[in-house]
Amino acid sequence: MEFFICPCSGTGNVILDGNDQGPNKDSSGGLLTKQCNAGLHTVSLQCAAGKICIPAQTTVAINNTDPISPMEVPFRCA
């Protein structure tokens, strides 16, 4: 099992390989760690209405992570 987070100044829904995995943050702004299988994945962050998350989509190899140190897949909200 692999773990990753999507840090961003804004809040949005994490889309992994085209499928919604829920919000990147909890209601108090803490980052939520997501789980996936090892390997190559495409990640995007669907920001709240009126905002754009950059990059629109990124392809990353998620390997060798653990729940204490998940991989960071960062986004910028504009």
């Binding site: 939520l32 789980q35 996936c36 299988n37 204490i68």
Partner: protein, 492 residues
């Protein structure tokens, strides 16, 4: 006169042969365009779970009527299991989200998915106590079928499909499952084996998207026939692939998964390559055999669903959505264990015995690995969760100012396997382990299998522990298997 008679006979034979040559398996319909919100998919037939009730996944193994009766017994027992959650009494059977099945177990799972209300009343007479084998053999004696079987596009499995369709599944199709009210019956995953690529093949719209075919127009009997298409007894069942006209993009994970360099998990590469093969120009047909050849427990699909986000019915995705508080997986394994005395003499076992080992040996091995994989995965997830909890405890003790680490694994995992090996009474255990694999069992044998499933569930330490974590006041029911029934079936 004689010449005229011979001529007439020849003409009749030619007409019959031509008609027979026209016999064709029922074609699966083409799908013009993929629509992910339509068709027989988990997300279409089941509402998103709330996360506060157990998410129950059942896996029914192969093994003819033995497996069908054993899994029916589990369903009967699940119906009696009640627990209290948030002050409300619930039945565990209402929490069954997914049933994945193979071969004999597919008759039980399909009938339940189709008729959840009349299942307990009708299924025993309609299938379990019926001599299905004799019904199939009688069809072989019908001269009309001889001519049909002369066609290269119609075989014994298509005849079996017709028989199951008429006698068990009432001409119902996957469209009938799609049209049921959402959440009324569990999501059914019928597993067969694609022998062209030696890979698991499931009857879901997500799988049929790869073929550009519409599963809604496929009969349930056809899927069950494929799932229970025992090699040699039946010929492979054929499906059409419509990849010449594009119907839509493949799911994103398939292209990503085919990258050998960046995917350390070779299973992912193999699954992606298998999925991609349906769009390759040189594939026009799929030939299917019994699901047991690739997974005789029906556990591989659920394992992929709990351990990856690639599965079209990913259960891991529900964990990411915080909708998976409790996952209970129950595998009903009707495998037999034969006692053999070959090693007492120097002469090797005969051809029948060798064929039996060649067919069943690898299947048993794969099934053993499947249960170990699921059990091991659940154990690993618990350990990871415990590691984060221990780390947070230490942080609190030695570094109280530091923020706590978020624990993403909040699911409570339970895995139970029902197998004859766990029957404590050696006479009964041996008796069940030596039951034949056929589609005809005596009535009392079916009843014994039903009772054994109930007994095994209520005596499964894993299941009982999982239930007690769910409802600390819950107590297992005392199940006693009627000694007279044991005597009748197993002898004194």
């Amino acid at each position: 006169m004689r010449i005229a008679n011979h001529g007439l006979m020849l003409l009749c034979s030619a007409v019959l042969l031509i008609c027979g040559g026209c016999a064709h398996y029922p074609d699966n319909p083409r799908l013009a365009s993929i629509a992910t919100n339509e068709g027989y998919r988990y997300s279409v037939v089941r509402p998103i779970p709330g996360g506060d009730t157990p998410f129950v996944v059942l896996a029914f193994s192969g093994g003819g009527t033995r497996a069908a009766a054993f899994s029916f017994g589990l369903m009967e027992e699940l119906k009696t299991v009640e627990y209290i959650a948030k002050g409300m009494k619930r039945k565990l059977i209402d929490d069954v989200e997914i049933i994945s099945s193979v071969s004999g177990g597919s008759f039980t799972s399909t009938y339940y998915a189709l008729y959840p209300e009349s299942f307990f009343r009708d299924f025993p007479e309609k299938f379990l106590y019926r001599n299905i084998q004799m019904g199939l053999v009688w069809r072989l004696f019908n001269p009309y079928n001889w001519w049909r079987l002369a066609s290269p596009d119609f075989s014994r499995i298509d005849m079996a499909d017709e028989y199951y369709n008429n006698t068990v599944f009432d001409n119902k199709t996957f469209a009938d499952l799609v049209n049921m009210p959402k959440g009324k019956s569990p999501f059914l995953v019928l597993n067969a084996t694609d022998i062209g690529i030696t890979h698991r093949f499931e009857f879901t719209q997500d799988q049929f998207d790869l073929l550009c075919s519409d599963l809604s127009g496929v009969s349930l009997s056809r899927a069950v026939a494929a799932s229970s298409d025992f090699p040699v007894a039946f010929a492979p069942l054929t499906l059409d692939i419509f990849n010449k006209q594009p119907c839509g993009q493949l799911p994103m994970w398939i292209e990503l998964g085919m990258d050998r360099e960046h995917n350390p998990d070779k299973r992912r590469v193999a699954d992606a390559t298998a999925a991609h093969s349906y769009r390759e120009a040189d594939r026009s047909f799929v030939h299917l055999l019994d699901g047991g050849l690739s997974d005789n427990l029906g556990l591989r699909g659920p394992f992929q669903a709990v351990s990856t986000t690639d599965s079209p019915w990913s259960i891991l995705r529900l964990a990411n959505l915080d909708k998976l508080g409790r996952l209970m997986m129950i595998a009903v394994n009707a495998k037999t264990t034969k006692q053999r005395d070959w090693d007492k003499k120097s002469s090797p076992p005969g051809i029948g015995a060798v064929l039996d080992v060649a067919l069943n040996g690898p299947m048993d091995d794969v099934s053993f690995d499947s249960t170990e994989m699921v059990d091991g995965h659940f154990t690993q997830m618990k350990q990871l969760s415990n590691t984060v909890a221990s780390c947070n405890k230490r942080l609190g003790q030695y570094c109280p100012a530091a923020p706590q680490i978020y624990n993403p694994i909040t699911t409570d995992f339970t895995f139970s396997e029902l197998t004859f090996d766990n029957i404590p009474d050696p006479r009964l255990r041996r008796c069940l382990q030596e039951l034949p694999t056929s589609f005809a069992l005596p009535r009392n044998t079916v009843d014994l299998l039903r009772a054994a499933a109930g007994y095994l569930l209520m005596n499964s330490s894993d299941f009982v522990a999982g239930m007690k974590r769910l409802d600390p006041a819950w107590q297992p029911r005392q199940v006693v298997i009627d000694p007279k029934l044991i005597d009748e079936v197993c002898g004194r």
